[in-house]
């Protein structure tokens, strides 16, 4: 069955959509009340964020827009040292979208929320003219577990830890768009368990960032600029799977600039580097964690190449498009 404009009317069809799809899967006491707003209890300081998801294709190897919408907001909260607690979800659905598709997305969101231990406590649905697309906005609240984790807080002498392989989400999405069959899976995953592990081990984490759009290069530049320091990374230490590297070589892409959806950097004091490494490694999503570089005095990001040459690493400009030749 396809969604038509009547599903956005606020009347009977909208009610059916909410009950039979969203409440069925997101099912929790707060949401089920269908009040105008969720009333929540939290303790201490909170982190609060929002993100919108417009990815095509909606389903890709390793995930879908629903999983992405939950993990994206969960990860943004986690990077501030917060324990994600509550999410809201807004759906903008184009007419012509299959109801079964929406249900599959809702199911996927529910599974991701369960894994990340967050509740989806409020939502909204709108239907617009179009061609069967779907866009999702999520916002989220998390309780701060450790303060002062900030992009401005990298210290000279710290080391930079990367939680795993680069470029997998970007390569999976591009493969989907280009109709290329391969085994590359998006790394889309909630990172709250990695963060909880680090904080439980009393690692004095100075800065965390999930490595999403713009890739590692952009994130490191943001950290260096905002913390008024330089960052040096080592090409040999960067984890990239041979399949993603091959994909990049063919298309002229650089894993340093590719998006990930389940990877993060943590900047920690050198003395705690090994302990932090072991902590991340214990998590399901941190098996390939590496120490990739260190914070130095100065500015900008530099890479020591495999040949021991030196390369400047700038932010991403424009879109990372496959090259022409």
């Amino acid at each position: 069955m396809k969604i038509d404009m009547s599903y956005g009317s606020g009347g009977k069809q909208t009610g059916n959509l909410i009950h039979e799809v969203f409440l069925k899967h997101f099912n929790n006491k707060t949401l089920n009340k269908l009040e105008d707003a969720a009333v929540l209890s939290v303790s201490g300081k909170i982190a609060y964020t929002t993100d919108s998801f417009v990815v095509t294709p909606l389903f890709f190897n390793g995930g879908d827009i629903g999983k992405l919408a939950v993990c994206g907001t969960v990860n943004d909260l986690s990077m501030m040292g917060a324990r994600p607690r509550y999410l809201t979800a807004g759906f903008i659905i184009e007419e012509g979208c299959e109801l079964a598709l929406i249900e599959k997305i809702a199911e996927s969101m529910a599974a991701a929320a369960k894994e990340a231990k967050v509740m989806i406590v409020a939502g909204d649905t709108k239907v617009i003219e179009g061609n069967g697309g779907i866009y999702i906005n999520t916002s989220g609240i998390g309780e701060i577990m450790k303060e002062k984790i900030s992009i401005t807080n990298c210290h000279v002498g710290d080391v930079v830890i990367l939680s795993g392989n680069l470029g997998e989400h970007h390569a999976a999405i591009l493969s989907g768009r280009m109709g290329i069959e391969n085994n590359i899976k998006s790394d889309c995953a909630p990172l709250n368990s990695i963060v909880a592990g680090l904080l439980k081990e009393n690692i004095n984490v100075h800065c965390m960032r999930d490595v999403t759009r713009g890739g590692l290069a952009t994130v490191l530049n943001e950290a260096a600029d905002n913390s008024s320091c330089a960052i040096e990374i080592w090409e040999e230490a960067l984890p990239v799977s041979s399949e993603v590297q091959g994909f990049c070589d063919i298309l002229g892409l650089d894993p340093l600039y590719m998006a990930n959806e389940g990877k993060m950097i943590a900047v920690v004091p050198e003395g705690q580097a090994e302990k932090a490494l072991m902590s991340v490694q214990k998590s399901k999503y941190g098996k390939n964690v590496r120490i990739i570089g260190r914070v130095l005095e100065g500015s900008g990001v530099r890479m020591k190449t495999r040949l021991q040459g030196s390369r400047t690493i700038d932010v991403l400009y424009g879109e990372g498009l496959p090259r022409i030749c």
């Binding site: 040459g309 390369r311 700038d314 424009g318 498009l321 090259r323 022409i324 030749c325």
Partner: protein, 350 residues
């Protein structure tokens, strides 16, 4: 046989006469930065970029024509992403799209066939830009168009060939000592394509792959050739490049395309430097023109000097001051394969 370390040591310690090596291909320029090659070799060895970015040398009137097509009712322009931001005399394709034109980015030219089949009411114009590397794919595309009897997909071509451009540079730019020949193009045209140039102009033409080690080996080979005054063609990319090249691909190209004179943006007319569709395939051509039209180069832009290896991008007064990838003035700043864009992204930040 030298070890990598010995090669690196010798290149770092080189203290002979200053030499200028032109890397023809944008992918080499990119790899030189990615591997930090300049930091590994003596400052007496200067690596300069050449004309090997197809987007950079495509004439502004060609882009104007694409823009015009995108605005026409029931027309849609299909292009590689790279072409989107290069300005014609007024607009780029990105600008045309924002102004209501229909432009679609393709990752593979062959997906144009499906688009044309799915929507017969739209006339699709494919922006066929490139060098010898992309041309065989356009030839395959034409085969598909013909065998599927597709009437609503045509090519607007701007396909260049590299040897005449190198000849032009050898003839007019005397200060270049050697050439790092392009890897991908050489796969198609073969190492023998450079023989005549090497002999006539007495310059080394060394073909290399794209890994850092490949480039170091090529620079080392060039130094050795210059040292013993024996410039020649040397193929160091034997895993992919043969002496004759890919003859199947070359045959496919000559079945559909023939040589013609063409204008290179920023350079001017170069004889026999382009490929156009043969007369019998004219019905698949969307009106590609090889006639001279006034070339639009932005005021103050020194892309011409960059392409011809006269200056490095940093020596252009617009570089980084008003010309950046976010707001590109010249074509070399726009493309991912363009010298200025690559230099900008890898520049030392102050």
């Amino acid at each position: 046989m030298k070890t990598l370390q010995q090669v690196k040591d010798e290149l770092r310690q080189y203290n002979g006469k200053p030499i200028k090596i032109m890397e023809v291909c944008g992918t080499h320029t990119s790899s030189i930065f990615k591997n930090g090659i300049r930091s590994l070799i003596s400052s007496k060895i200067q690596l300069i970029s050449g004309p090997g970015c197809p987007v950079c040398v495509t004439s502004s009137s060609y882009i104007d024509k694409l823009v015009e097509y995108s605005m026409k009712e029931k027309h849609c322009v299909l292009t590689f992403g790279d072409m989107m931001k290069v300005k014609g005399s007024k607009l780029s394709l990105t600008g045309a799209k924002a102004a209501g034109g229909r432009v679609q980015i393709l990752y593979s030219p062959l997906s144009a066939i499906q688009l044309a089949k799915d929507d017969e009411n739209t006339k699709y114009i494919f922006a066929a830009v490139g060098f010898e590397t992309t041309t065989p794919i356009y030839a395959l595309m034409l085969e598909e168009i013909i065998s599927n009897n597709i009437k609503n997909l045509k090519l607007l071509t701007s396909v260049k060939t590299i040897i005449p451009a190198l000849q032009f540079i050898c003839e007019n730019e005397k200060n270049i000592d050697a050439f790092l020949s392009p890897g991908h193009v050489s796969v198609i045209i073969g190492s023998s394509a450079y023989m005549e140039l090497a002999e006539k102009y007495q310059k080394p033409f060394v073909i290399a792959g794209f890994e850092g080690e490949h480039i170091l080996a090529a620079v080392y080979e060039i130094l050795s050739q210059l040292g013993r005054h024996q410039p020649e063609v040397k193929n160091l990319y034997v895993s992919a490049v043969s002496e004759e090249g890919n003859q199947k691909a070359s045959a496919l190209i000559s079945r559909f395309f023939e040589r013609t004179d063409d204008y290179w943006r920023g350079i001017g007319l170069i004889e026999n430097s382009a490929l156009r569709l043969r007369e019998e395939f004219k019905e698949y051509d969307a009106g590609s023109s090889f006639e001279y039209r006034e070339e639009h180069m932005p005021k103050g832009c020194r892309c011409t000097d960059v392409i011809l290896g006269r200056i490095s991008p940093e020596e252009c007064p617009l570089f980084q001051t008003v010309c950046t990838p976010m707001d590109a003035i010249g074509p070399c700043m726009v493309s991912t394969e363009g010298a200025c864009g690559i230099w900008y992204k890898n520049r030392e930040r102050r």
